[in-house]
Structure formats: structure tokens, C-alpha cells
Symmetry: C2
Subunit: 205 residues, 2 copies
Amino acid sequence: MDKKIIITISREFGSGGRYIGETVANKLNIPFYDKAIIEMASEKTGFSPDYIKENEQKLTGTPLFNFAVSGSYAGNMVFGNGESLQDTMFFAQSNVIKEVASKHSCVIVGRCANHVLEKFDDCINIFIYSNIESKIKRAVEEYKLDSNNIEKILKERDKLREKHYNYYTGKVWGDARNYHACFNSDFIGINNVVDIIEKMAIKKK
Amino acid sequence: MDKKIIITISREFGSGGRYIGETVANKLNIPFYDKAIIEMASEKTGFSPDYIKENEQKLTGTPLFNFAVSGSYAGNMVFGNGESLQDTMFFAQSNVIKEVASKHSCVIVGRCANHVLEKFDDCINIFIYSNIESKIKRAVEEYKLDSNNIEKILKERDKLREKHYNYYTGKVWGDARNYHACFNSDFIGINNVVDIIEKMAIKKK
């Protein structure tokens, strides 16, 4: 590829967005960042990757409610510099995202990357969503989640993503205007979405 | 085309959504409905097409504020059956949309058609938006609007569309989840968007 291309993918839980991102990265032969971002960020904060993964979207209030708390609950713990745990993790991850995007073409899934990289003019920002039926199917069959209360669980996961995104970006998660293109992966078809994104990337190179 | 295909296009003002819809309709050789819907609806309500065009999105409040008023302002006039002028126009246009969509393949631009036809399973619902710079360019060069305060005018037009859509559908205008695919026409390119929609339609036939 002649020109650097950064593809960011925001997605509903169970919509196949991660698979789409990874497949596009493979087809374009460029790196794919998801958990890797967490691991790289964790090295900078000193928290373990598992701890960060567990806590990164457990945002329960606005900055006004980010009180320092004692005991084992560190969901919104505030550190000496006034940052909560989530803030620290978010900024660490954002720095990693900016670092890799400065260096080379890549696909980044989640982590508000479209917002973090809003000043980068070589981004293609995509939002992937799906019908609830196919999200349930994917969650149960592929992610092996318990089918009891699965619809409620999926909605809660998306609600967390929405709160996390809206809090850190000041924008509205899922508003089409935040992305260059948005696809219902169930309706369009996962492979067709991959093809469309790949063509967009090739045309932008 | 073997199977009936209805393509609905919602769009920001100046995003090229109408042109995209008309071009897709021409390529697929199916009817295109925009002003024609207004004219057909007007025959059923008794209002002139110009009067409907001028007033259809002048919605200023919720149903609670739809008072009957006297004088020349009929923006929210309530008729004997409890419907405001906007309600009457909306329901008349919705009936026309359902009528044409029941009969044959077509492209329908605006008029909350994605919501009106939500029980039709042969719809492809698209949302088109664009960067403010290209919307201004299109508004001034193609629609010949005065360039003074043009950004403010464009935002007001979209605000009217948003209020109209949200009021009649109970959904959020521009939320990607209301459509099967959404495109920034400036970023993707008008002709590329036309090609993608055409391919989606051909694959669904």
C-alpha cells in the first residue's frame, strides 16, 4: 500500500465487528490492534492486562462523581494527579493508539480510536452493528456465553460501550456522523462488509 | 430484477442524498419518489404541492403544543379530527409511500420512509451525510442558495429534518441503527456510494 491507512472499527457487542476488522487487516496485510493495545498500554501504567480488560469500561459516573474510594473497589479510584483509574487507562491506551497510528497502516478495533485519532487525516472510521437475533446467535455460538438472559446481557455490554464512548469523546456512540460509514453486518453480510471496507482502503491509498 | 426492492434514503441537506437516490433508481431502472410523493399526497389532502412542500417540516412542538390557531399561520393548525396540518400531511404521504412500496420496486428519498415501511421486509434503508464544507459547496453551487450565513441555514434545515423525523418515528435521526448502511458521501465519494447501494440491491434481489 502506497499511503498509510488507519482503519478504526467501533462496534456493538456480538455484531462481528472484531472479526471484520481482523479479516480486513489480514487482507490488506497490515497489523490489527485490539487486545494488543491493552497489553502495550498496561506496560505503561503498571496494571496487569487482565485487570485493565476487566475495568476499562466500568465507568459509573461523570468526573464530578469520581471519588477516591478505599477497599477493593477501584472502579473510579482517583490517583494523586486527579485522574481516575479509567482516565489513566484511557489516556495510556490513547497514547499507544496514537503511537502505532503515527508509524504505520493498521486496523484498530474499539477504544474510541476514531475520536483519539480525529486529527489524523488518514483514518477510515467504521461503525458495525447488527440485529439482536444475530448478536445473540454469535454470543452463544461463538463467544460461548450463557443463553439465559442473553439479550439483557448484550444490551448491558453495549450500554457500557456507549457510556464509555460518550464520556471520553463528548459525542454520541452510534451517531452515523461520527464515522465515515456504518453497516448492519447481518443485513449486508459480514463478507460483503469486509469487501466494501477493503475497497475503501484501496481507493484511499 | 426478480424480487421487489425498496430503497429508502434519509439524508442531511446538501449531502447529495437526493442525487444518489435518483442515480441508483436510474441504474436499477426503477421509479424514484421525492417531490412526486408530495404531489400524490396533495391530491388526497386538497392542499397544493407548494403549500405542502413549504409546511411539511415546520414542526415546532410536541402534540401537546399543537393548538388550533386562527389567522394565516397554519403551522400547527389542528383540524376537527384532532390532527395537526403536519399530521394530516405526514399520514397522507405515509399512505402514498406504503401504496407505491406495495406495488413495485422503487427508491424513496426522505419522508421518514424507513420508518413508514418498517414492516416491509424488502427495504434497504440508507442514511447519507457529509462534511459541512462539501454541503456548503453543493448548497451554493448547485442549489444556488445565498452564501451569507449558509452554514447556519444548513444546520437549521437539518435541525428541522431531525425534529420532524424524531417526532414522527420516536427514533433518533442519524442513529446508524435505524438504517442498514450509512455513508459520508464526501469521504466515500458520491459515485462509490451509488455503486455500493446498487450492488446491495442486486445482491438482495
